[in-house]
Structures are given as C-alpha cells and as structure tokens.
C-alpha cells in the first residue's frame, strides 16, 4: 500500500463518481470459449477476466487422485499486458496464493463426491486489471463451472470492500486500492451466507470490519443475481447451449 496524499473522496463522492455502496458496472457472458467444457467472461469495471473449465476428467498423475472425490485445480494468471507496466509472465508467489485461496473458495460448493478419481480444471486469465481481479476471477469461475454442467450446491459470488479516507466503501478500483488504507476481498454463497474466502490487507477497526462485511455481503447478493440472470438468459433462448 503506497503512502499517498491523493484525495480519494472529494465533496462526499469517490473519484470515479460512485457512491460508497455502489459496484462498478458488471458484464457477464456465458459460454464464450468453444473448446472448453464451460466458460465465462466477466467484466467488473475495468477488470476483465475469462474463466475456462475442463473436466471432470481422469486425474494425472495418478497419485494426486482422490479415491472418494474430484480434485479441483485452479489457475489464476495475469496476462503480461493486464497491468500498466508489463507483468513478467508465468506463475509467481502472488498468483500461486490467489489460485490456492480461489480454489478453496469454490471447493465447498462443488459436489465433488460424484466424480471420484478425477480432476476439475479451472483456468482464470486476467486480461485487464483494475483491483479486485481475484473476485472477478471467482465470479467468472463459478459461472463457468455451472456452464460446464458440473453439479454444484450453489454459485459463489465475490467482491471486495476497502477503506479510503476513513470511509468504508464497496468494490475498490486500482487508485483506491493503492492509496487507500485497507482492502478486504470476500467470497460467499449468497443463499446460505456462507463465507468461503476472506482476506484483509491493511487495518480496519472492529466496527469498520463489521460494516465492511455487511457491505460486501450485500454486494455479493447483487452479483449473485447477475450471475443467475446470465445463466438463465443463455440457456432459455437457445434450445441446447453446450
């Protein structure tokens, strides 16, 4: 978190002109990749992520198989052109950790016990980034899993909250993330209010945390409705998508 003198809130409004509890515009497209079993393109403001799901298919190497349930593999990757300075391609410590926590955010909703000895592979590519790419990735992956026809308990929705100029706000953009005081992404199952991912960078007071959590949960519910609508729209018009 850079020390900044940038004023993030001017006359009670954010730099982007959004309200404190307002999400960035969201665009969801289902089934964008022809050769993937399931896919989804997700836009959250200037974040652009694409998720592809393959499988369940037999797990290789064999010793990674689980005899009772499917194993989920998740790869979060940022394209070299996704940030202002070129990002060195390939996995790094940051993307490895994000892959791990994102996998754990989706694991509990997938009915993994139906496909023993197999692997479900989720590939998330970030094409453009503007803070909150892991949440965009999880949202995309969740819809892509549903598009792949993999049985799930529910969809997972994800959004971040943060603190800028002493105010708790929903869905930080890159400027707010860099010069703000805290950033907290969460992922949850909207129907059951089950939180499957919660990370925090920076400091929040107890009251701020509680307020932020409530804000994020409301944001997740809104995204959940959009995810549902995207799936319904895709599959109610054409007879059989796939």
């Amino acid at each position: 978190m850079k020390e900044g003198k940038i004023e993030l809130i001017k006359d009670g409004a954010r730099l982007s002109g959004r309200g404190f509890e307002e999400l960035r515009p969201i665009k969801i497209e289902v089934g964008v990749l022809k050769r993937a079993d399931g896919s989804c393109y997700f836009e959250l403001g200037d974040n652009k992520a694409i998720a592809a799901v393959y499988g369940p298919r037999e797990m290789h190497p064999r010793h990674f198989q689980n005899a009772k349930r499917a194993v989920v593999k998740y790869r979060y990757n940022m394209a070299p052109f996704s940030v202002d300075d070129r990002k060195r391609p390939g996995p790094d410590r940051r993307s490895q950790e994000i892959s791990m926590v994102s996998r754990k955010a989706l694991d509990p909703v997938i009915l993994r016990e139906l496909y023993p000895k197999t692997a479900i592979e989720v590939y998330v590519e970030v094409l453009q980034s503007d803070a909150g790419t892991r949440t965009a990735g999880i949202n995309a992956a969740s819809v892509a899993l549903a598009d792949a026809g993999i049985p799930m308990r529910d969809l997972v929705s994800s959004v971040a909250i943060g603190k800028i100029d002493g105010e708790v706000v929903l869905d930080l953009d890159a400027k707010e993330d860099n010069f703000g005081e805290a950033d907290m992404p969460i992922a949850m199952v909207a129907r059951t209010n089950t939180i499957t991912l919660l990370q925090m960078d920076g400091r929040l007071k107890k009251e701020e945390f509680e307020r932020g959590l409530k804000l994020a949960m409301n944001g997740c519910r809104k995204i959940y409705e959009l995810q549902k609508a995207a799936l319904v729209e895709k599959y109610s018009k054409n007879g059989n998508g796939a």
């Binding site: 079993d37 499988g55 037999e58 496909y115 197999t118 598009d147 993999i150 799936l231 998508g241 796939a242």
Partner: protein, 187 residues
Amino acid sequence: MEKEEGIVVPGDFLGTSEEFTPGMGVYDETGNIYASVTGEISISDKRVIDVLPKVGTPPVPEEGDVVIGRIEDLRDAVAVVNIARVKGKDDRDVASSTQGIIHISNIKSGYVSELQREFGYLDLVKAKVLDAKALRLSTEGNDLGVIKAICGKCKGDLRKKGNTLTCDTCKRVEERKLSDDYGKGLV
C-alpha cells in the same frame, strides 16, 4: 410427467423432501431440495423431482453404454482398455477412471482359445459396459469389437478381407474380434 416453465440454476430452491423425492440434478440439504445443475424442472407421477440439464453434463459410463477405447495391455485372460469416449457424448472427456477391462469370457459368444487372437496392442475397440463401477466391458455382438487395428509386425494399416485382416505393406494376415464397423471410421 410434468414440466415447469423457466430455467433453474444451481442453488435454486425447488421444494421440500416432504413434497418430492430427489432425482437427478438436485440435492437434498436439511430437508430442502435445491437444483445442482442448470436446466428445467421435471416432476414425475411418483413425485420424483429432476432437473433436466440444459447444459452439457460430464459423461460417466453407465451399464449398457457403448464406449470407445484403445487396448493398452494384453494379459492371459484380460485386455486392458483405456476408455476415451462414451458413445453419443463425443465432445467431452470421460468423467471417471478411464481404465476398463475386457475379460476373455466377454469377448465373443464363441470359444476363445487365446486372447491374442482377438485383440492386438493399440487396437481401437468399441465395447459395452457390463459393470460401471469396475468398468468391466464386453465386445459380444456384431457391432462391437475392434474398429481399427495396426499390423503387429510393421505397424501398417490393416484392411478387412472377409473375416481376417491383411496388412497393406507387409501382407501379413491377422485375426481379430471385428466389429461390423471396422475401418469405416464410424463410432
């Protein structure tokens, strides 16, 4: 059979377990039934509730399904098949273990003296699933058996001549349990 309008997505509440018996594409959690795949609701006369998927679902070989695979190993009494596809669901990988087994007694209805005379290494076979759990397969029947084979000596293509196969390059003659579809490229 009763169909309801509209599409449900995973997590949509469908009813309680007092109302319905959970079928396919749904799951039961603390007495409530929810959808687990995207599709349309269907309620049978016996109050079994299913979600008929609108999305492509992962293919799992079931008893009676026809599968396509390649012979990976030949032993005295069994041939090991690596299952590639379930017939009718050719666009997706098999969502289970892929190692199937054909026992010598399930190759054909007649007497089999040697397994090596019915299958060759790397043959493509079409087989029916006898037991989905252990993936025991059978090639009994005219349409089932080897659909593509290569010469054991020179790896050249084998062409069907009557009931035997002849190698295009070295003229070697081999025997197989042939499917009617041998060499036609049909699955």
